[in-house]
């Protein structure tokens, strides 16, 4: 009896405790999914809107205080996609070149320094990027293109590109550095130049890791709220050009969650958008898992 009690004290208690914490993390994650899903469903259940209206219509005049209006959120969805994919388009080539430089071209001392610098820049708060965008980039773009205001898709994409560059570079560098050294040696032994080795061998071997970095960057850009909200201009219509303002899911949620009444249609739509944002983020996570599993398999 005494030995069993002792065993309980020295072993089972601790095991139960840590298992409880493991369980807690699972419950927490499911809780976030559940709560946001539940809050997001009110638009469709309480106010009877259809999912297609929410996703496809661009008629935006949600009701406050018990009234009902139109909740078409296509402008915000397209805005988010537009801004983040443009940011990705700008950031990927630059990041990739930088990653190749660090992993393959730069002398070792420079390469180690650059890696540390990158890791520091990954940590720069997004608000700071937004602030720089607001103080420098927005006036610059207005000047350059003779606009009244520089708030635009282009400004937002540039700010986001700058923000995700260190992330993509960091992941891509690790992935390039992790490819077996034999690949490089075999390639050189066949008489290829460094560029041929990088282009035909290293890049191909590192593709899963590079893709992971790119999707991570996309996820960050898509989910970024404040930096985008500061420079996008928050105008609730489709952007007619890259130089026109528009709005994104994250920006409209951030700007309006605080000044709409709980339970009003307006407020509920914002929660629906948050649920959509969550769903898309989970999709990105899934995508990363698929990519990395493929990479391991090959």
């Amino acid at each position: 009896m005494a030995s069993r009690l002792r065993k309980w004290q020295t072993e089972y208690l601790g095991r139960t405790l840590v298992t409880a914490f493991g369980l807690f993390v699972v419950v927490l994650t499911l809780g976030i999914l559940g709560f946001l899903g539940y809050k997001g469903s009110a638009t469709f259940i309480d106010y009877g809107h259809s999912l297609t209206e929410f996703l496809i219509s661009s008629k935006w005049s949600p009701g406050e205080a018990g009234q009902s209006g139109s909740i078409g959120s296509a402008v915000f969805i397209i805005g988010s996609l537009e801004v983040s994919s443009l940011a990705l388009l700008l950031a990927t080539p630059l990041s990739l070149a930088m990653a190749i430089f660090i992993a393959e071209v730069a002398p070792q001392r420079l390469s180690t320094t650059l890696r540390s610098v990158l890791e520091i820049f990954v940590g720069i708060p997004s608000v700071v990027y937004g602030w720089i965008g607001l103080a420098v980039l927005v006036p610059f773009i207005a000047d350059l293109f003779h606009l009244n205001f520089g708030f635009s898709v282009l400004s937002a994409a540039l700010v986001l590109a700058l923000m995700i560059c260190p992330t993509i570079t960091s992941v891509a560098t690790d992935s390039l550095a992790a490819t077996p050294n034999e690949y490089r040696e075999a390639s050189y032994a066949l008489g290829s130049t460094r560029w041929q080795m990088i282009w035909h061998v290293k890049l191909r071997a590192a593709i899963p890791g590079i893709l992971t970095g790119v999707v991570l960057g996309l996820a960050r850009a898509f989910g970024e709220a404040l930096a985008v909200a500061m420079v996008i201009g928050q105008s609730n219509r489709f952007a007619s050009s890259l130089l026109a303002p528009t709005n994104t899911l994250t920006a409209v949620i951030t700007a309006n969650m605080g000044n709409t009444t709980t339970g009003s249609e307006y407020n509920d739509v914002l929660w629906s958008m948050a649920a959509l944002l969550l769903a898309i983020s989970l999709l990105f996570i899934l995508l990363i898992r698929v990519i990395s599993r493929r990479g391991q398999a090959s």
Binding site: G22, P125, W195
Partner: protein, 322 residues
């Protein structure tokens, strides 16, 4: 470390081989295609140097710009702990991150412990791992909204430091859990065997031996988490609020305007930058934001560099200990 050396060595070897006229490399090793390949290689190398220089210059000029603007804006009045002074937000930032680490560390370490030592490789572990992964890559505004819903709306309370710090803790738990797991897994197997052989239970081994050996890396992870916490804003907008009403002469944690009271609302440096942009009515809001941004990145840089330096030092000590 040997990677570059080996690469340079084999490169020299490859060049020698190419010079000797190694046939059958690519599509025929004719002299013309080899020269053009060499030219392309030179051009590519040049392009990489240009891109790298551009990138570094960009990052350096951004940092310099922020620090310069911050230095211009710095004045005793704005650095103070009253009125518009940024000192209030600096205190809030550090205090909020401290409070959140009080939650993050135990939860993260326990979860990491579970993953490393007790979870095995079953279905439940796969689920837990997926959840940690999902948690770590959620947009911070989502976590902020969850915190707003659960800690503010459902408890019918006002914006507060504790709500903000709990939400921030959710963001950082995956980081600490993963750091702990990695650290525990890298402890030599002989430590475990030795402890079990001395008659310790598994739990005693895990806590007294493995966890102790992992402490350096966990501390590094904690500093990293703190650095990340300083810059978070989207999580805090709707949990800890966008304003603070404090009196720095009142240190009784129970009084509503005491800096230490975890139930008061508090804006951090990053939230202040955001709110100045959206409702910047003060004439000097530009200066305040400049100063806040400069202090913020200094804070982040110091913690980031600190965690790296500490990590390197602790690793060296552990290596020499073996």
């Amino acid at each position: 470390m040997s990677k570059i050396d080996a690469g340079a060595g084999s490169q020299a070897g490859a060049q020698a081989a190419a010079g000797a006229g190694a046939a059958g490399s690519q599509k025929g090793a004719r002299a013309t295609s080899r020269t053009s390949a060499k030219v392309i290689d030179r051009i590519a190398t040049g392009v990489f140097y240009v891109v790298a220089a551009f990138f570094i210059l960009l990052l350096a000029s951004i940092t310099a710009y922020i620090l310069y603007k911050g230095a211009l804006a710095a004045s005793p009045e704005l650095l103070s702990f009253v009125g518009d002074g940024v000192g209030i937000q600096l205190f809030n930032t550090v205090y909020l991150v401290f409070l959140s680490l009080l939650v993050t560390m135990p939860v993260g370490i326990m979860t990491g412990l579970f993953m490393a030592e007790y979870a095995g490789s079953g279905f439940f572990v796969a689920i837990t791992r997926t959840c940690i992964e999902a948690l770590s890559s959620l947009p911070s505004i989502i976590v902020g909204l969850f915190g707003f819903l659960v800690f503010i709306q459902m408890t019918h309370s006002k914006w507060s430091l504790w709500a903000g710090s709990l939400s921030l803790a959710i963001i950082n738990v995956p980081l600490i859990a993963r750091t702990t797991e990695d650290a525990m897994r890298s402890v030599p197997r002989s430590y475990y065997d030795g402890s079990i052989a001395l008659g310790a239970s598994r739990w005693q081994t895990v806590t007294h031996v493995l966890l102790k050996a992992s402490i350096p890396r966990i501390i590094t992870g904690m500093i990293l988490a703190a650095g990340r916490g300083f810059g978070e804003a989207a999580v805090l907008l709707y949990t800890s609020g966008m304003s603070s009403d404090v009196n720095f002469h009142d240190w009784n944690p129970l009084s509503p305007t005491s800096p230490l009271n975890p139930l008061r609302s508090a804006d951090t440096l990053s939230v202040r930058i955001w709110s100045l942009k959206t409702e910047g009515i003060a004439a000097n809001s530009q200066q305040i934001a400049d100063l806040a941004a400069a202090i913020l990145i200094l804070l982040v840089f110091v913690f980031s560099l600190g965690s790296r330096a500490l990590g390197r030092r602790l690793q060296k000590r552990m290596l020499s200990g073996n």
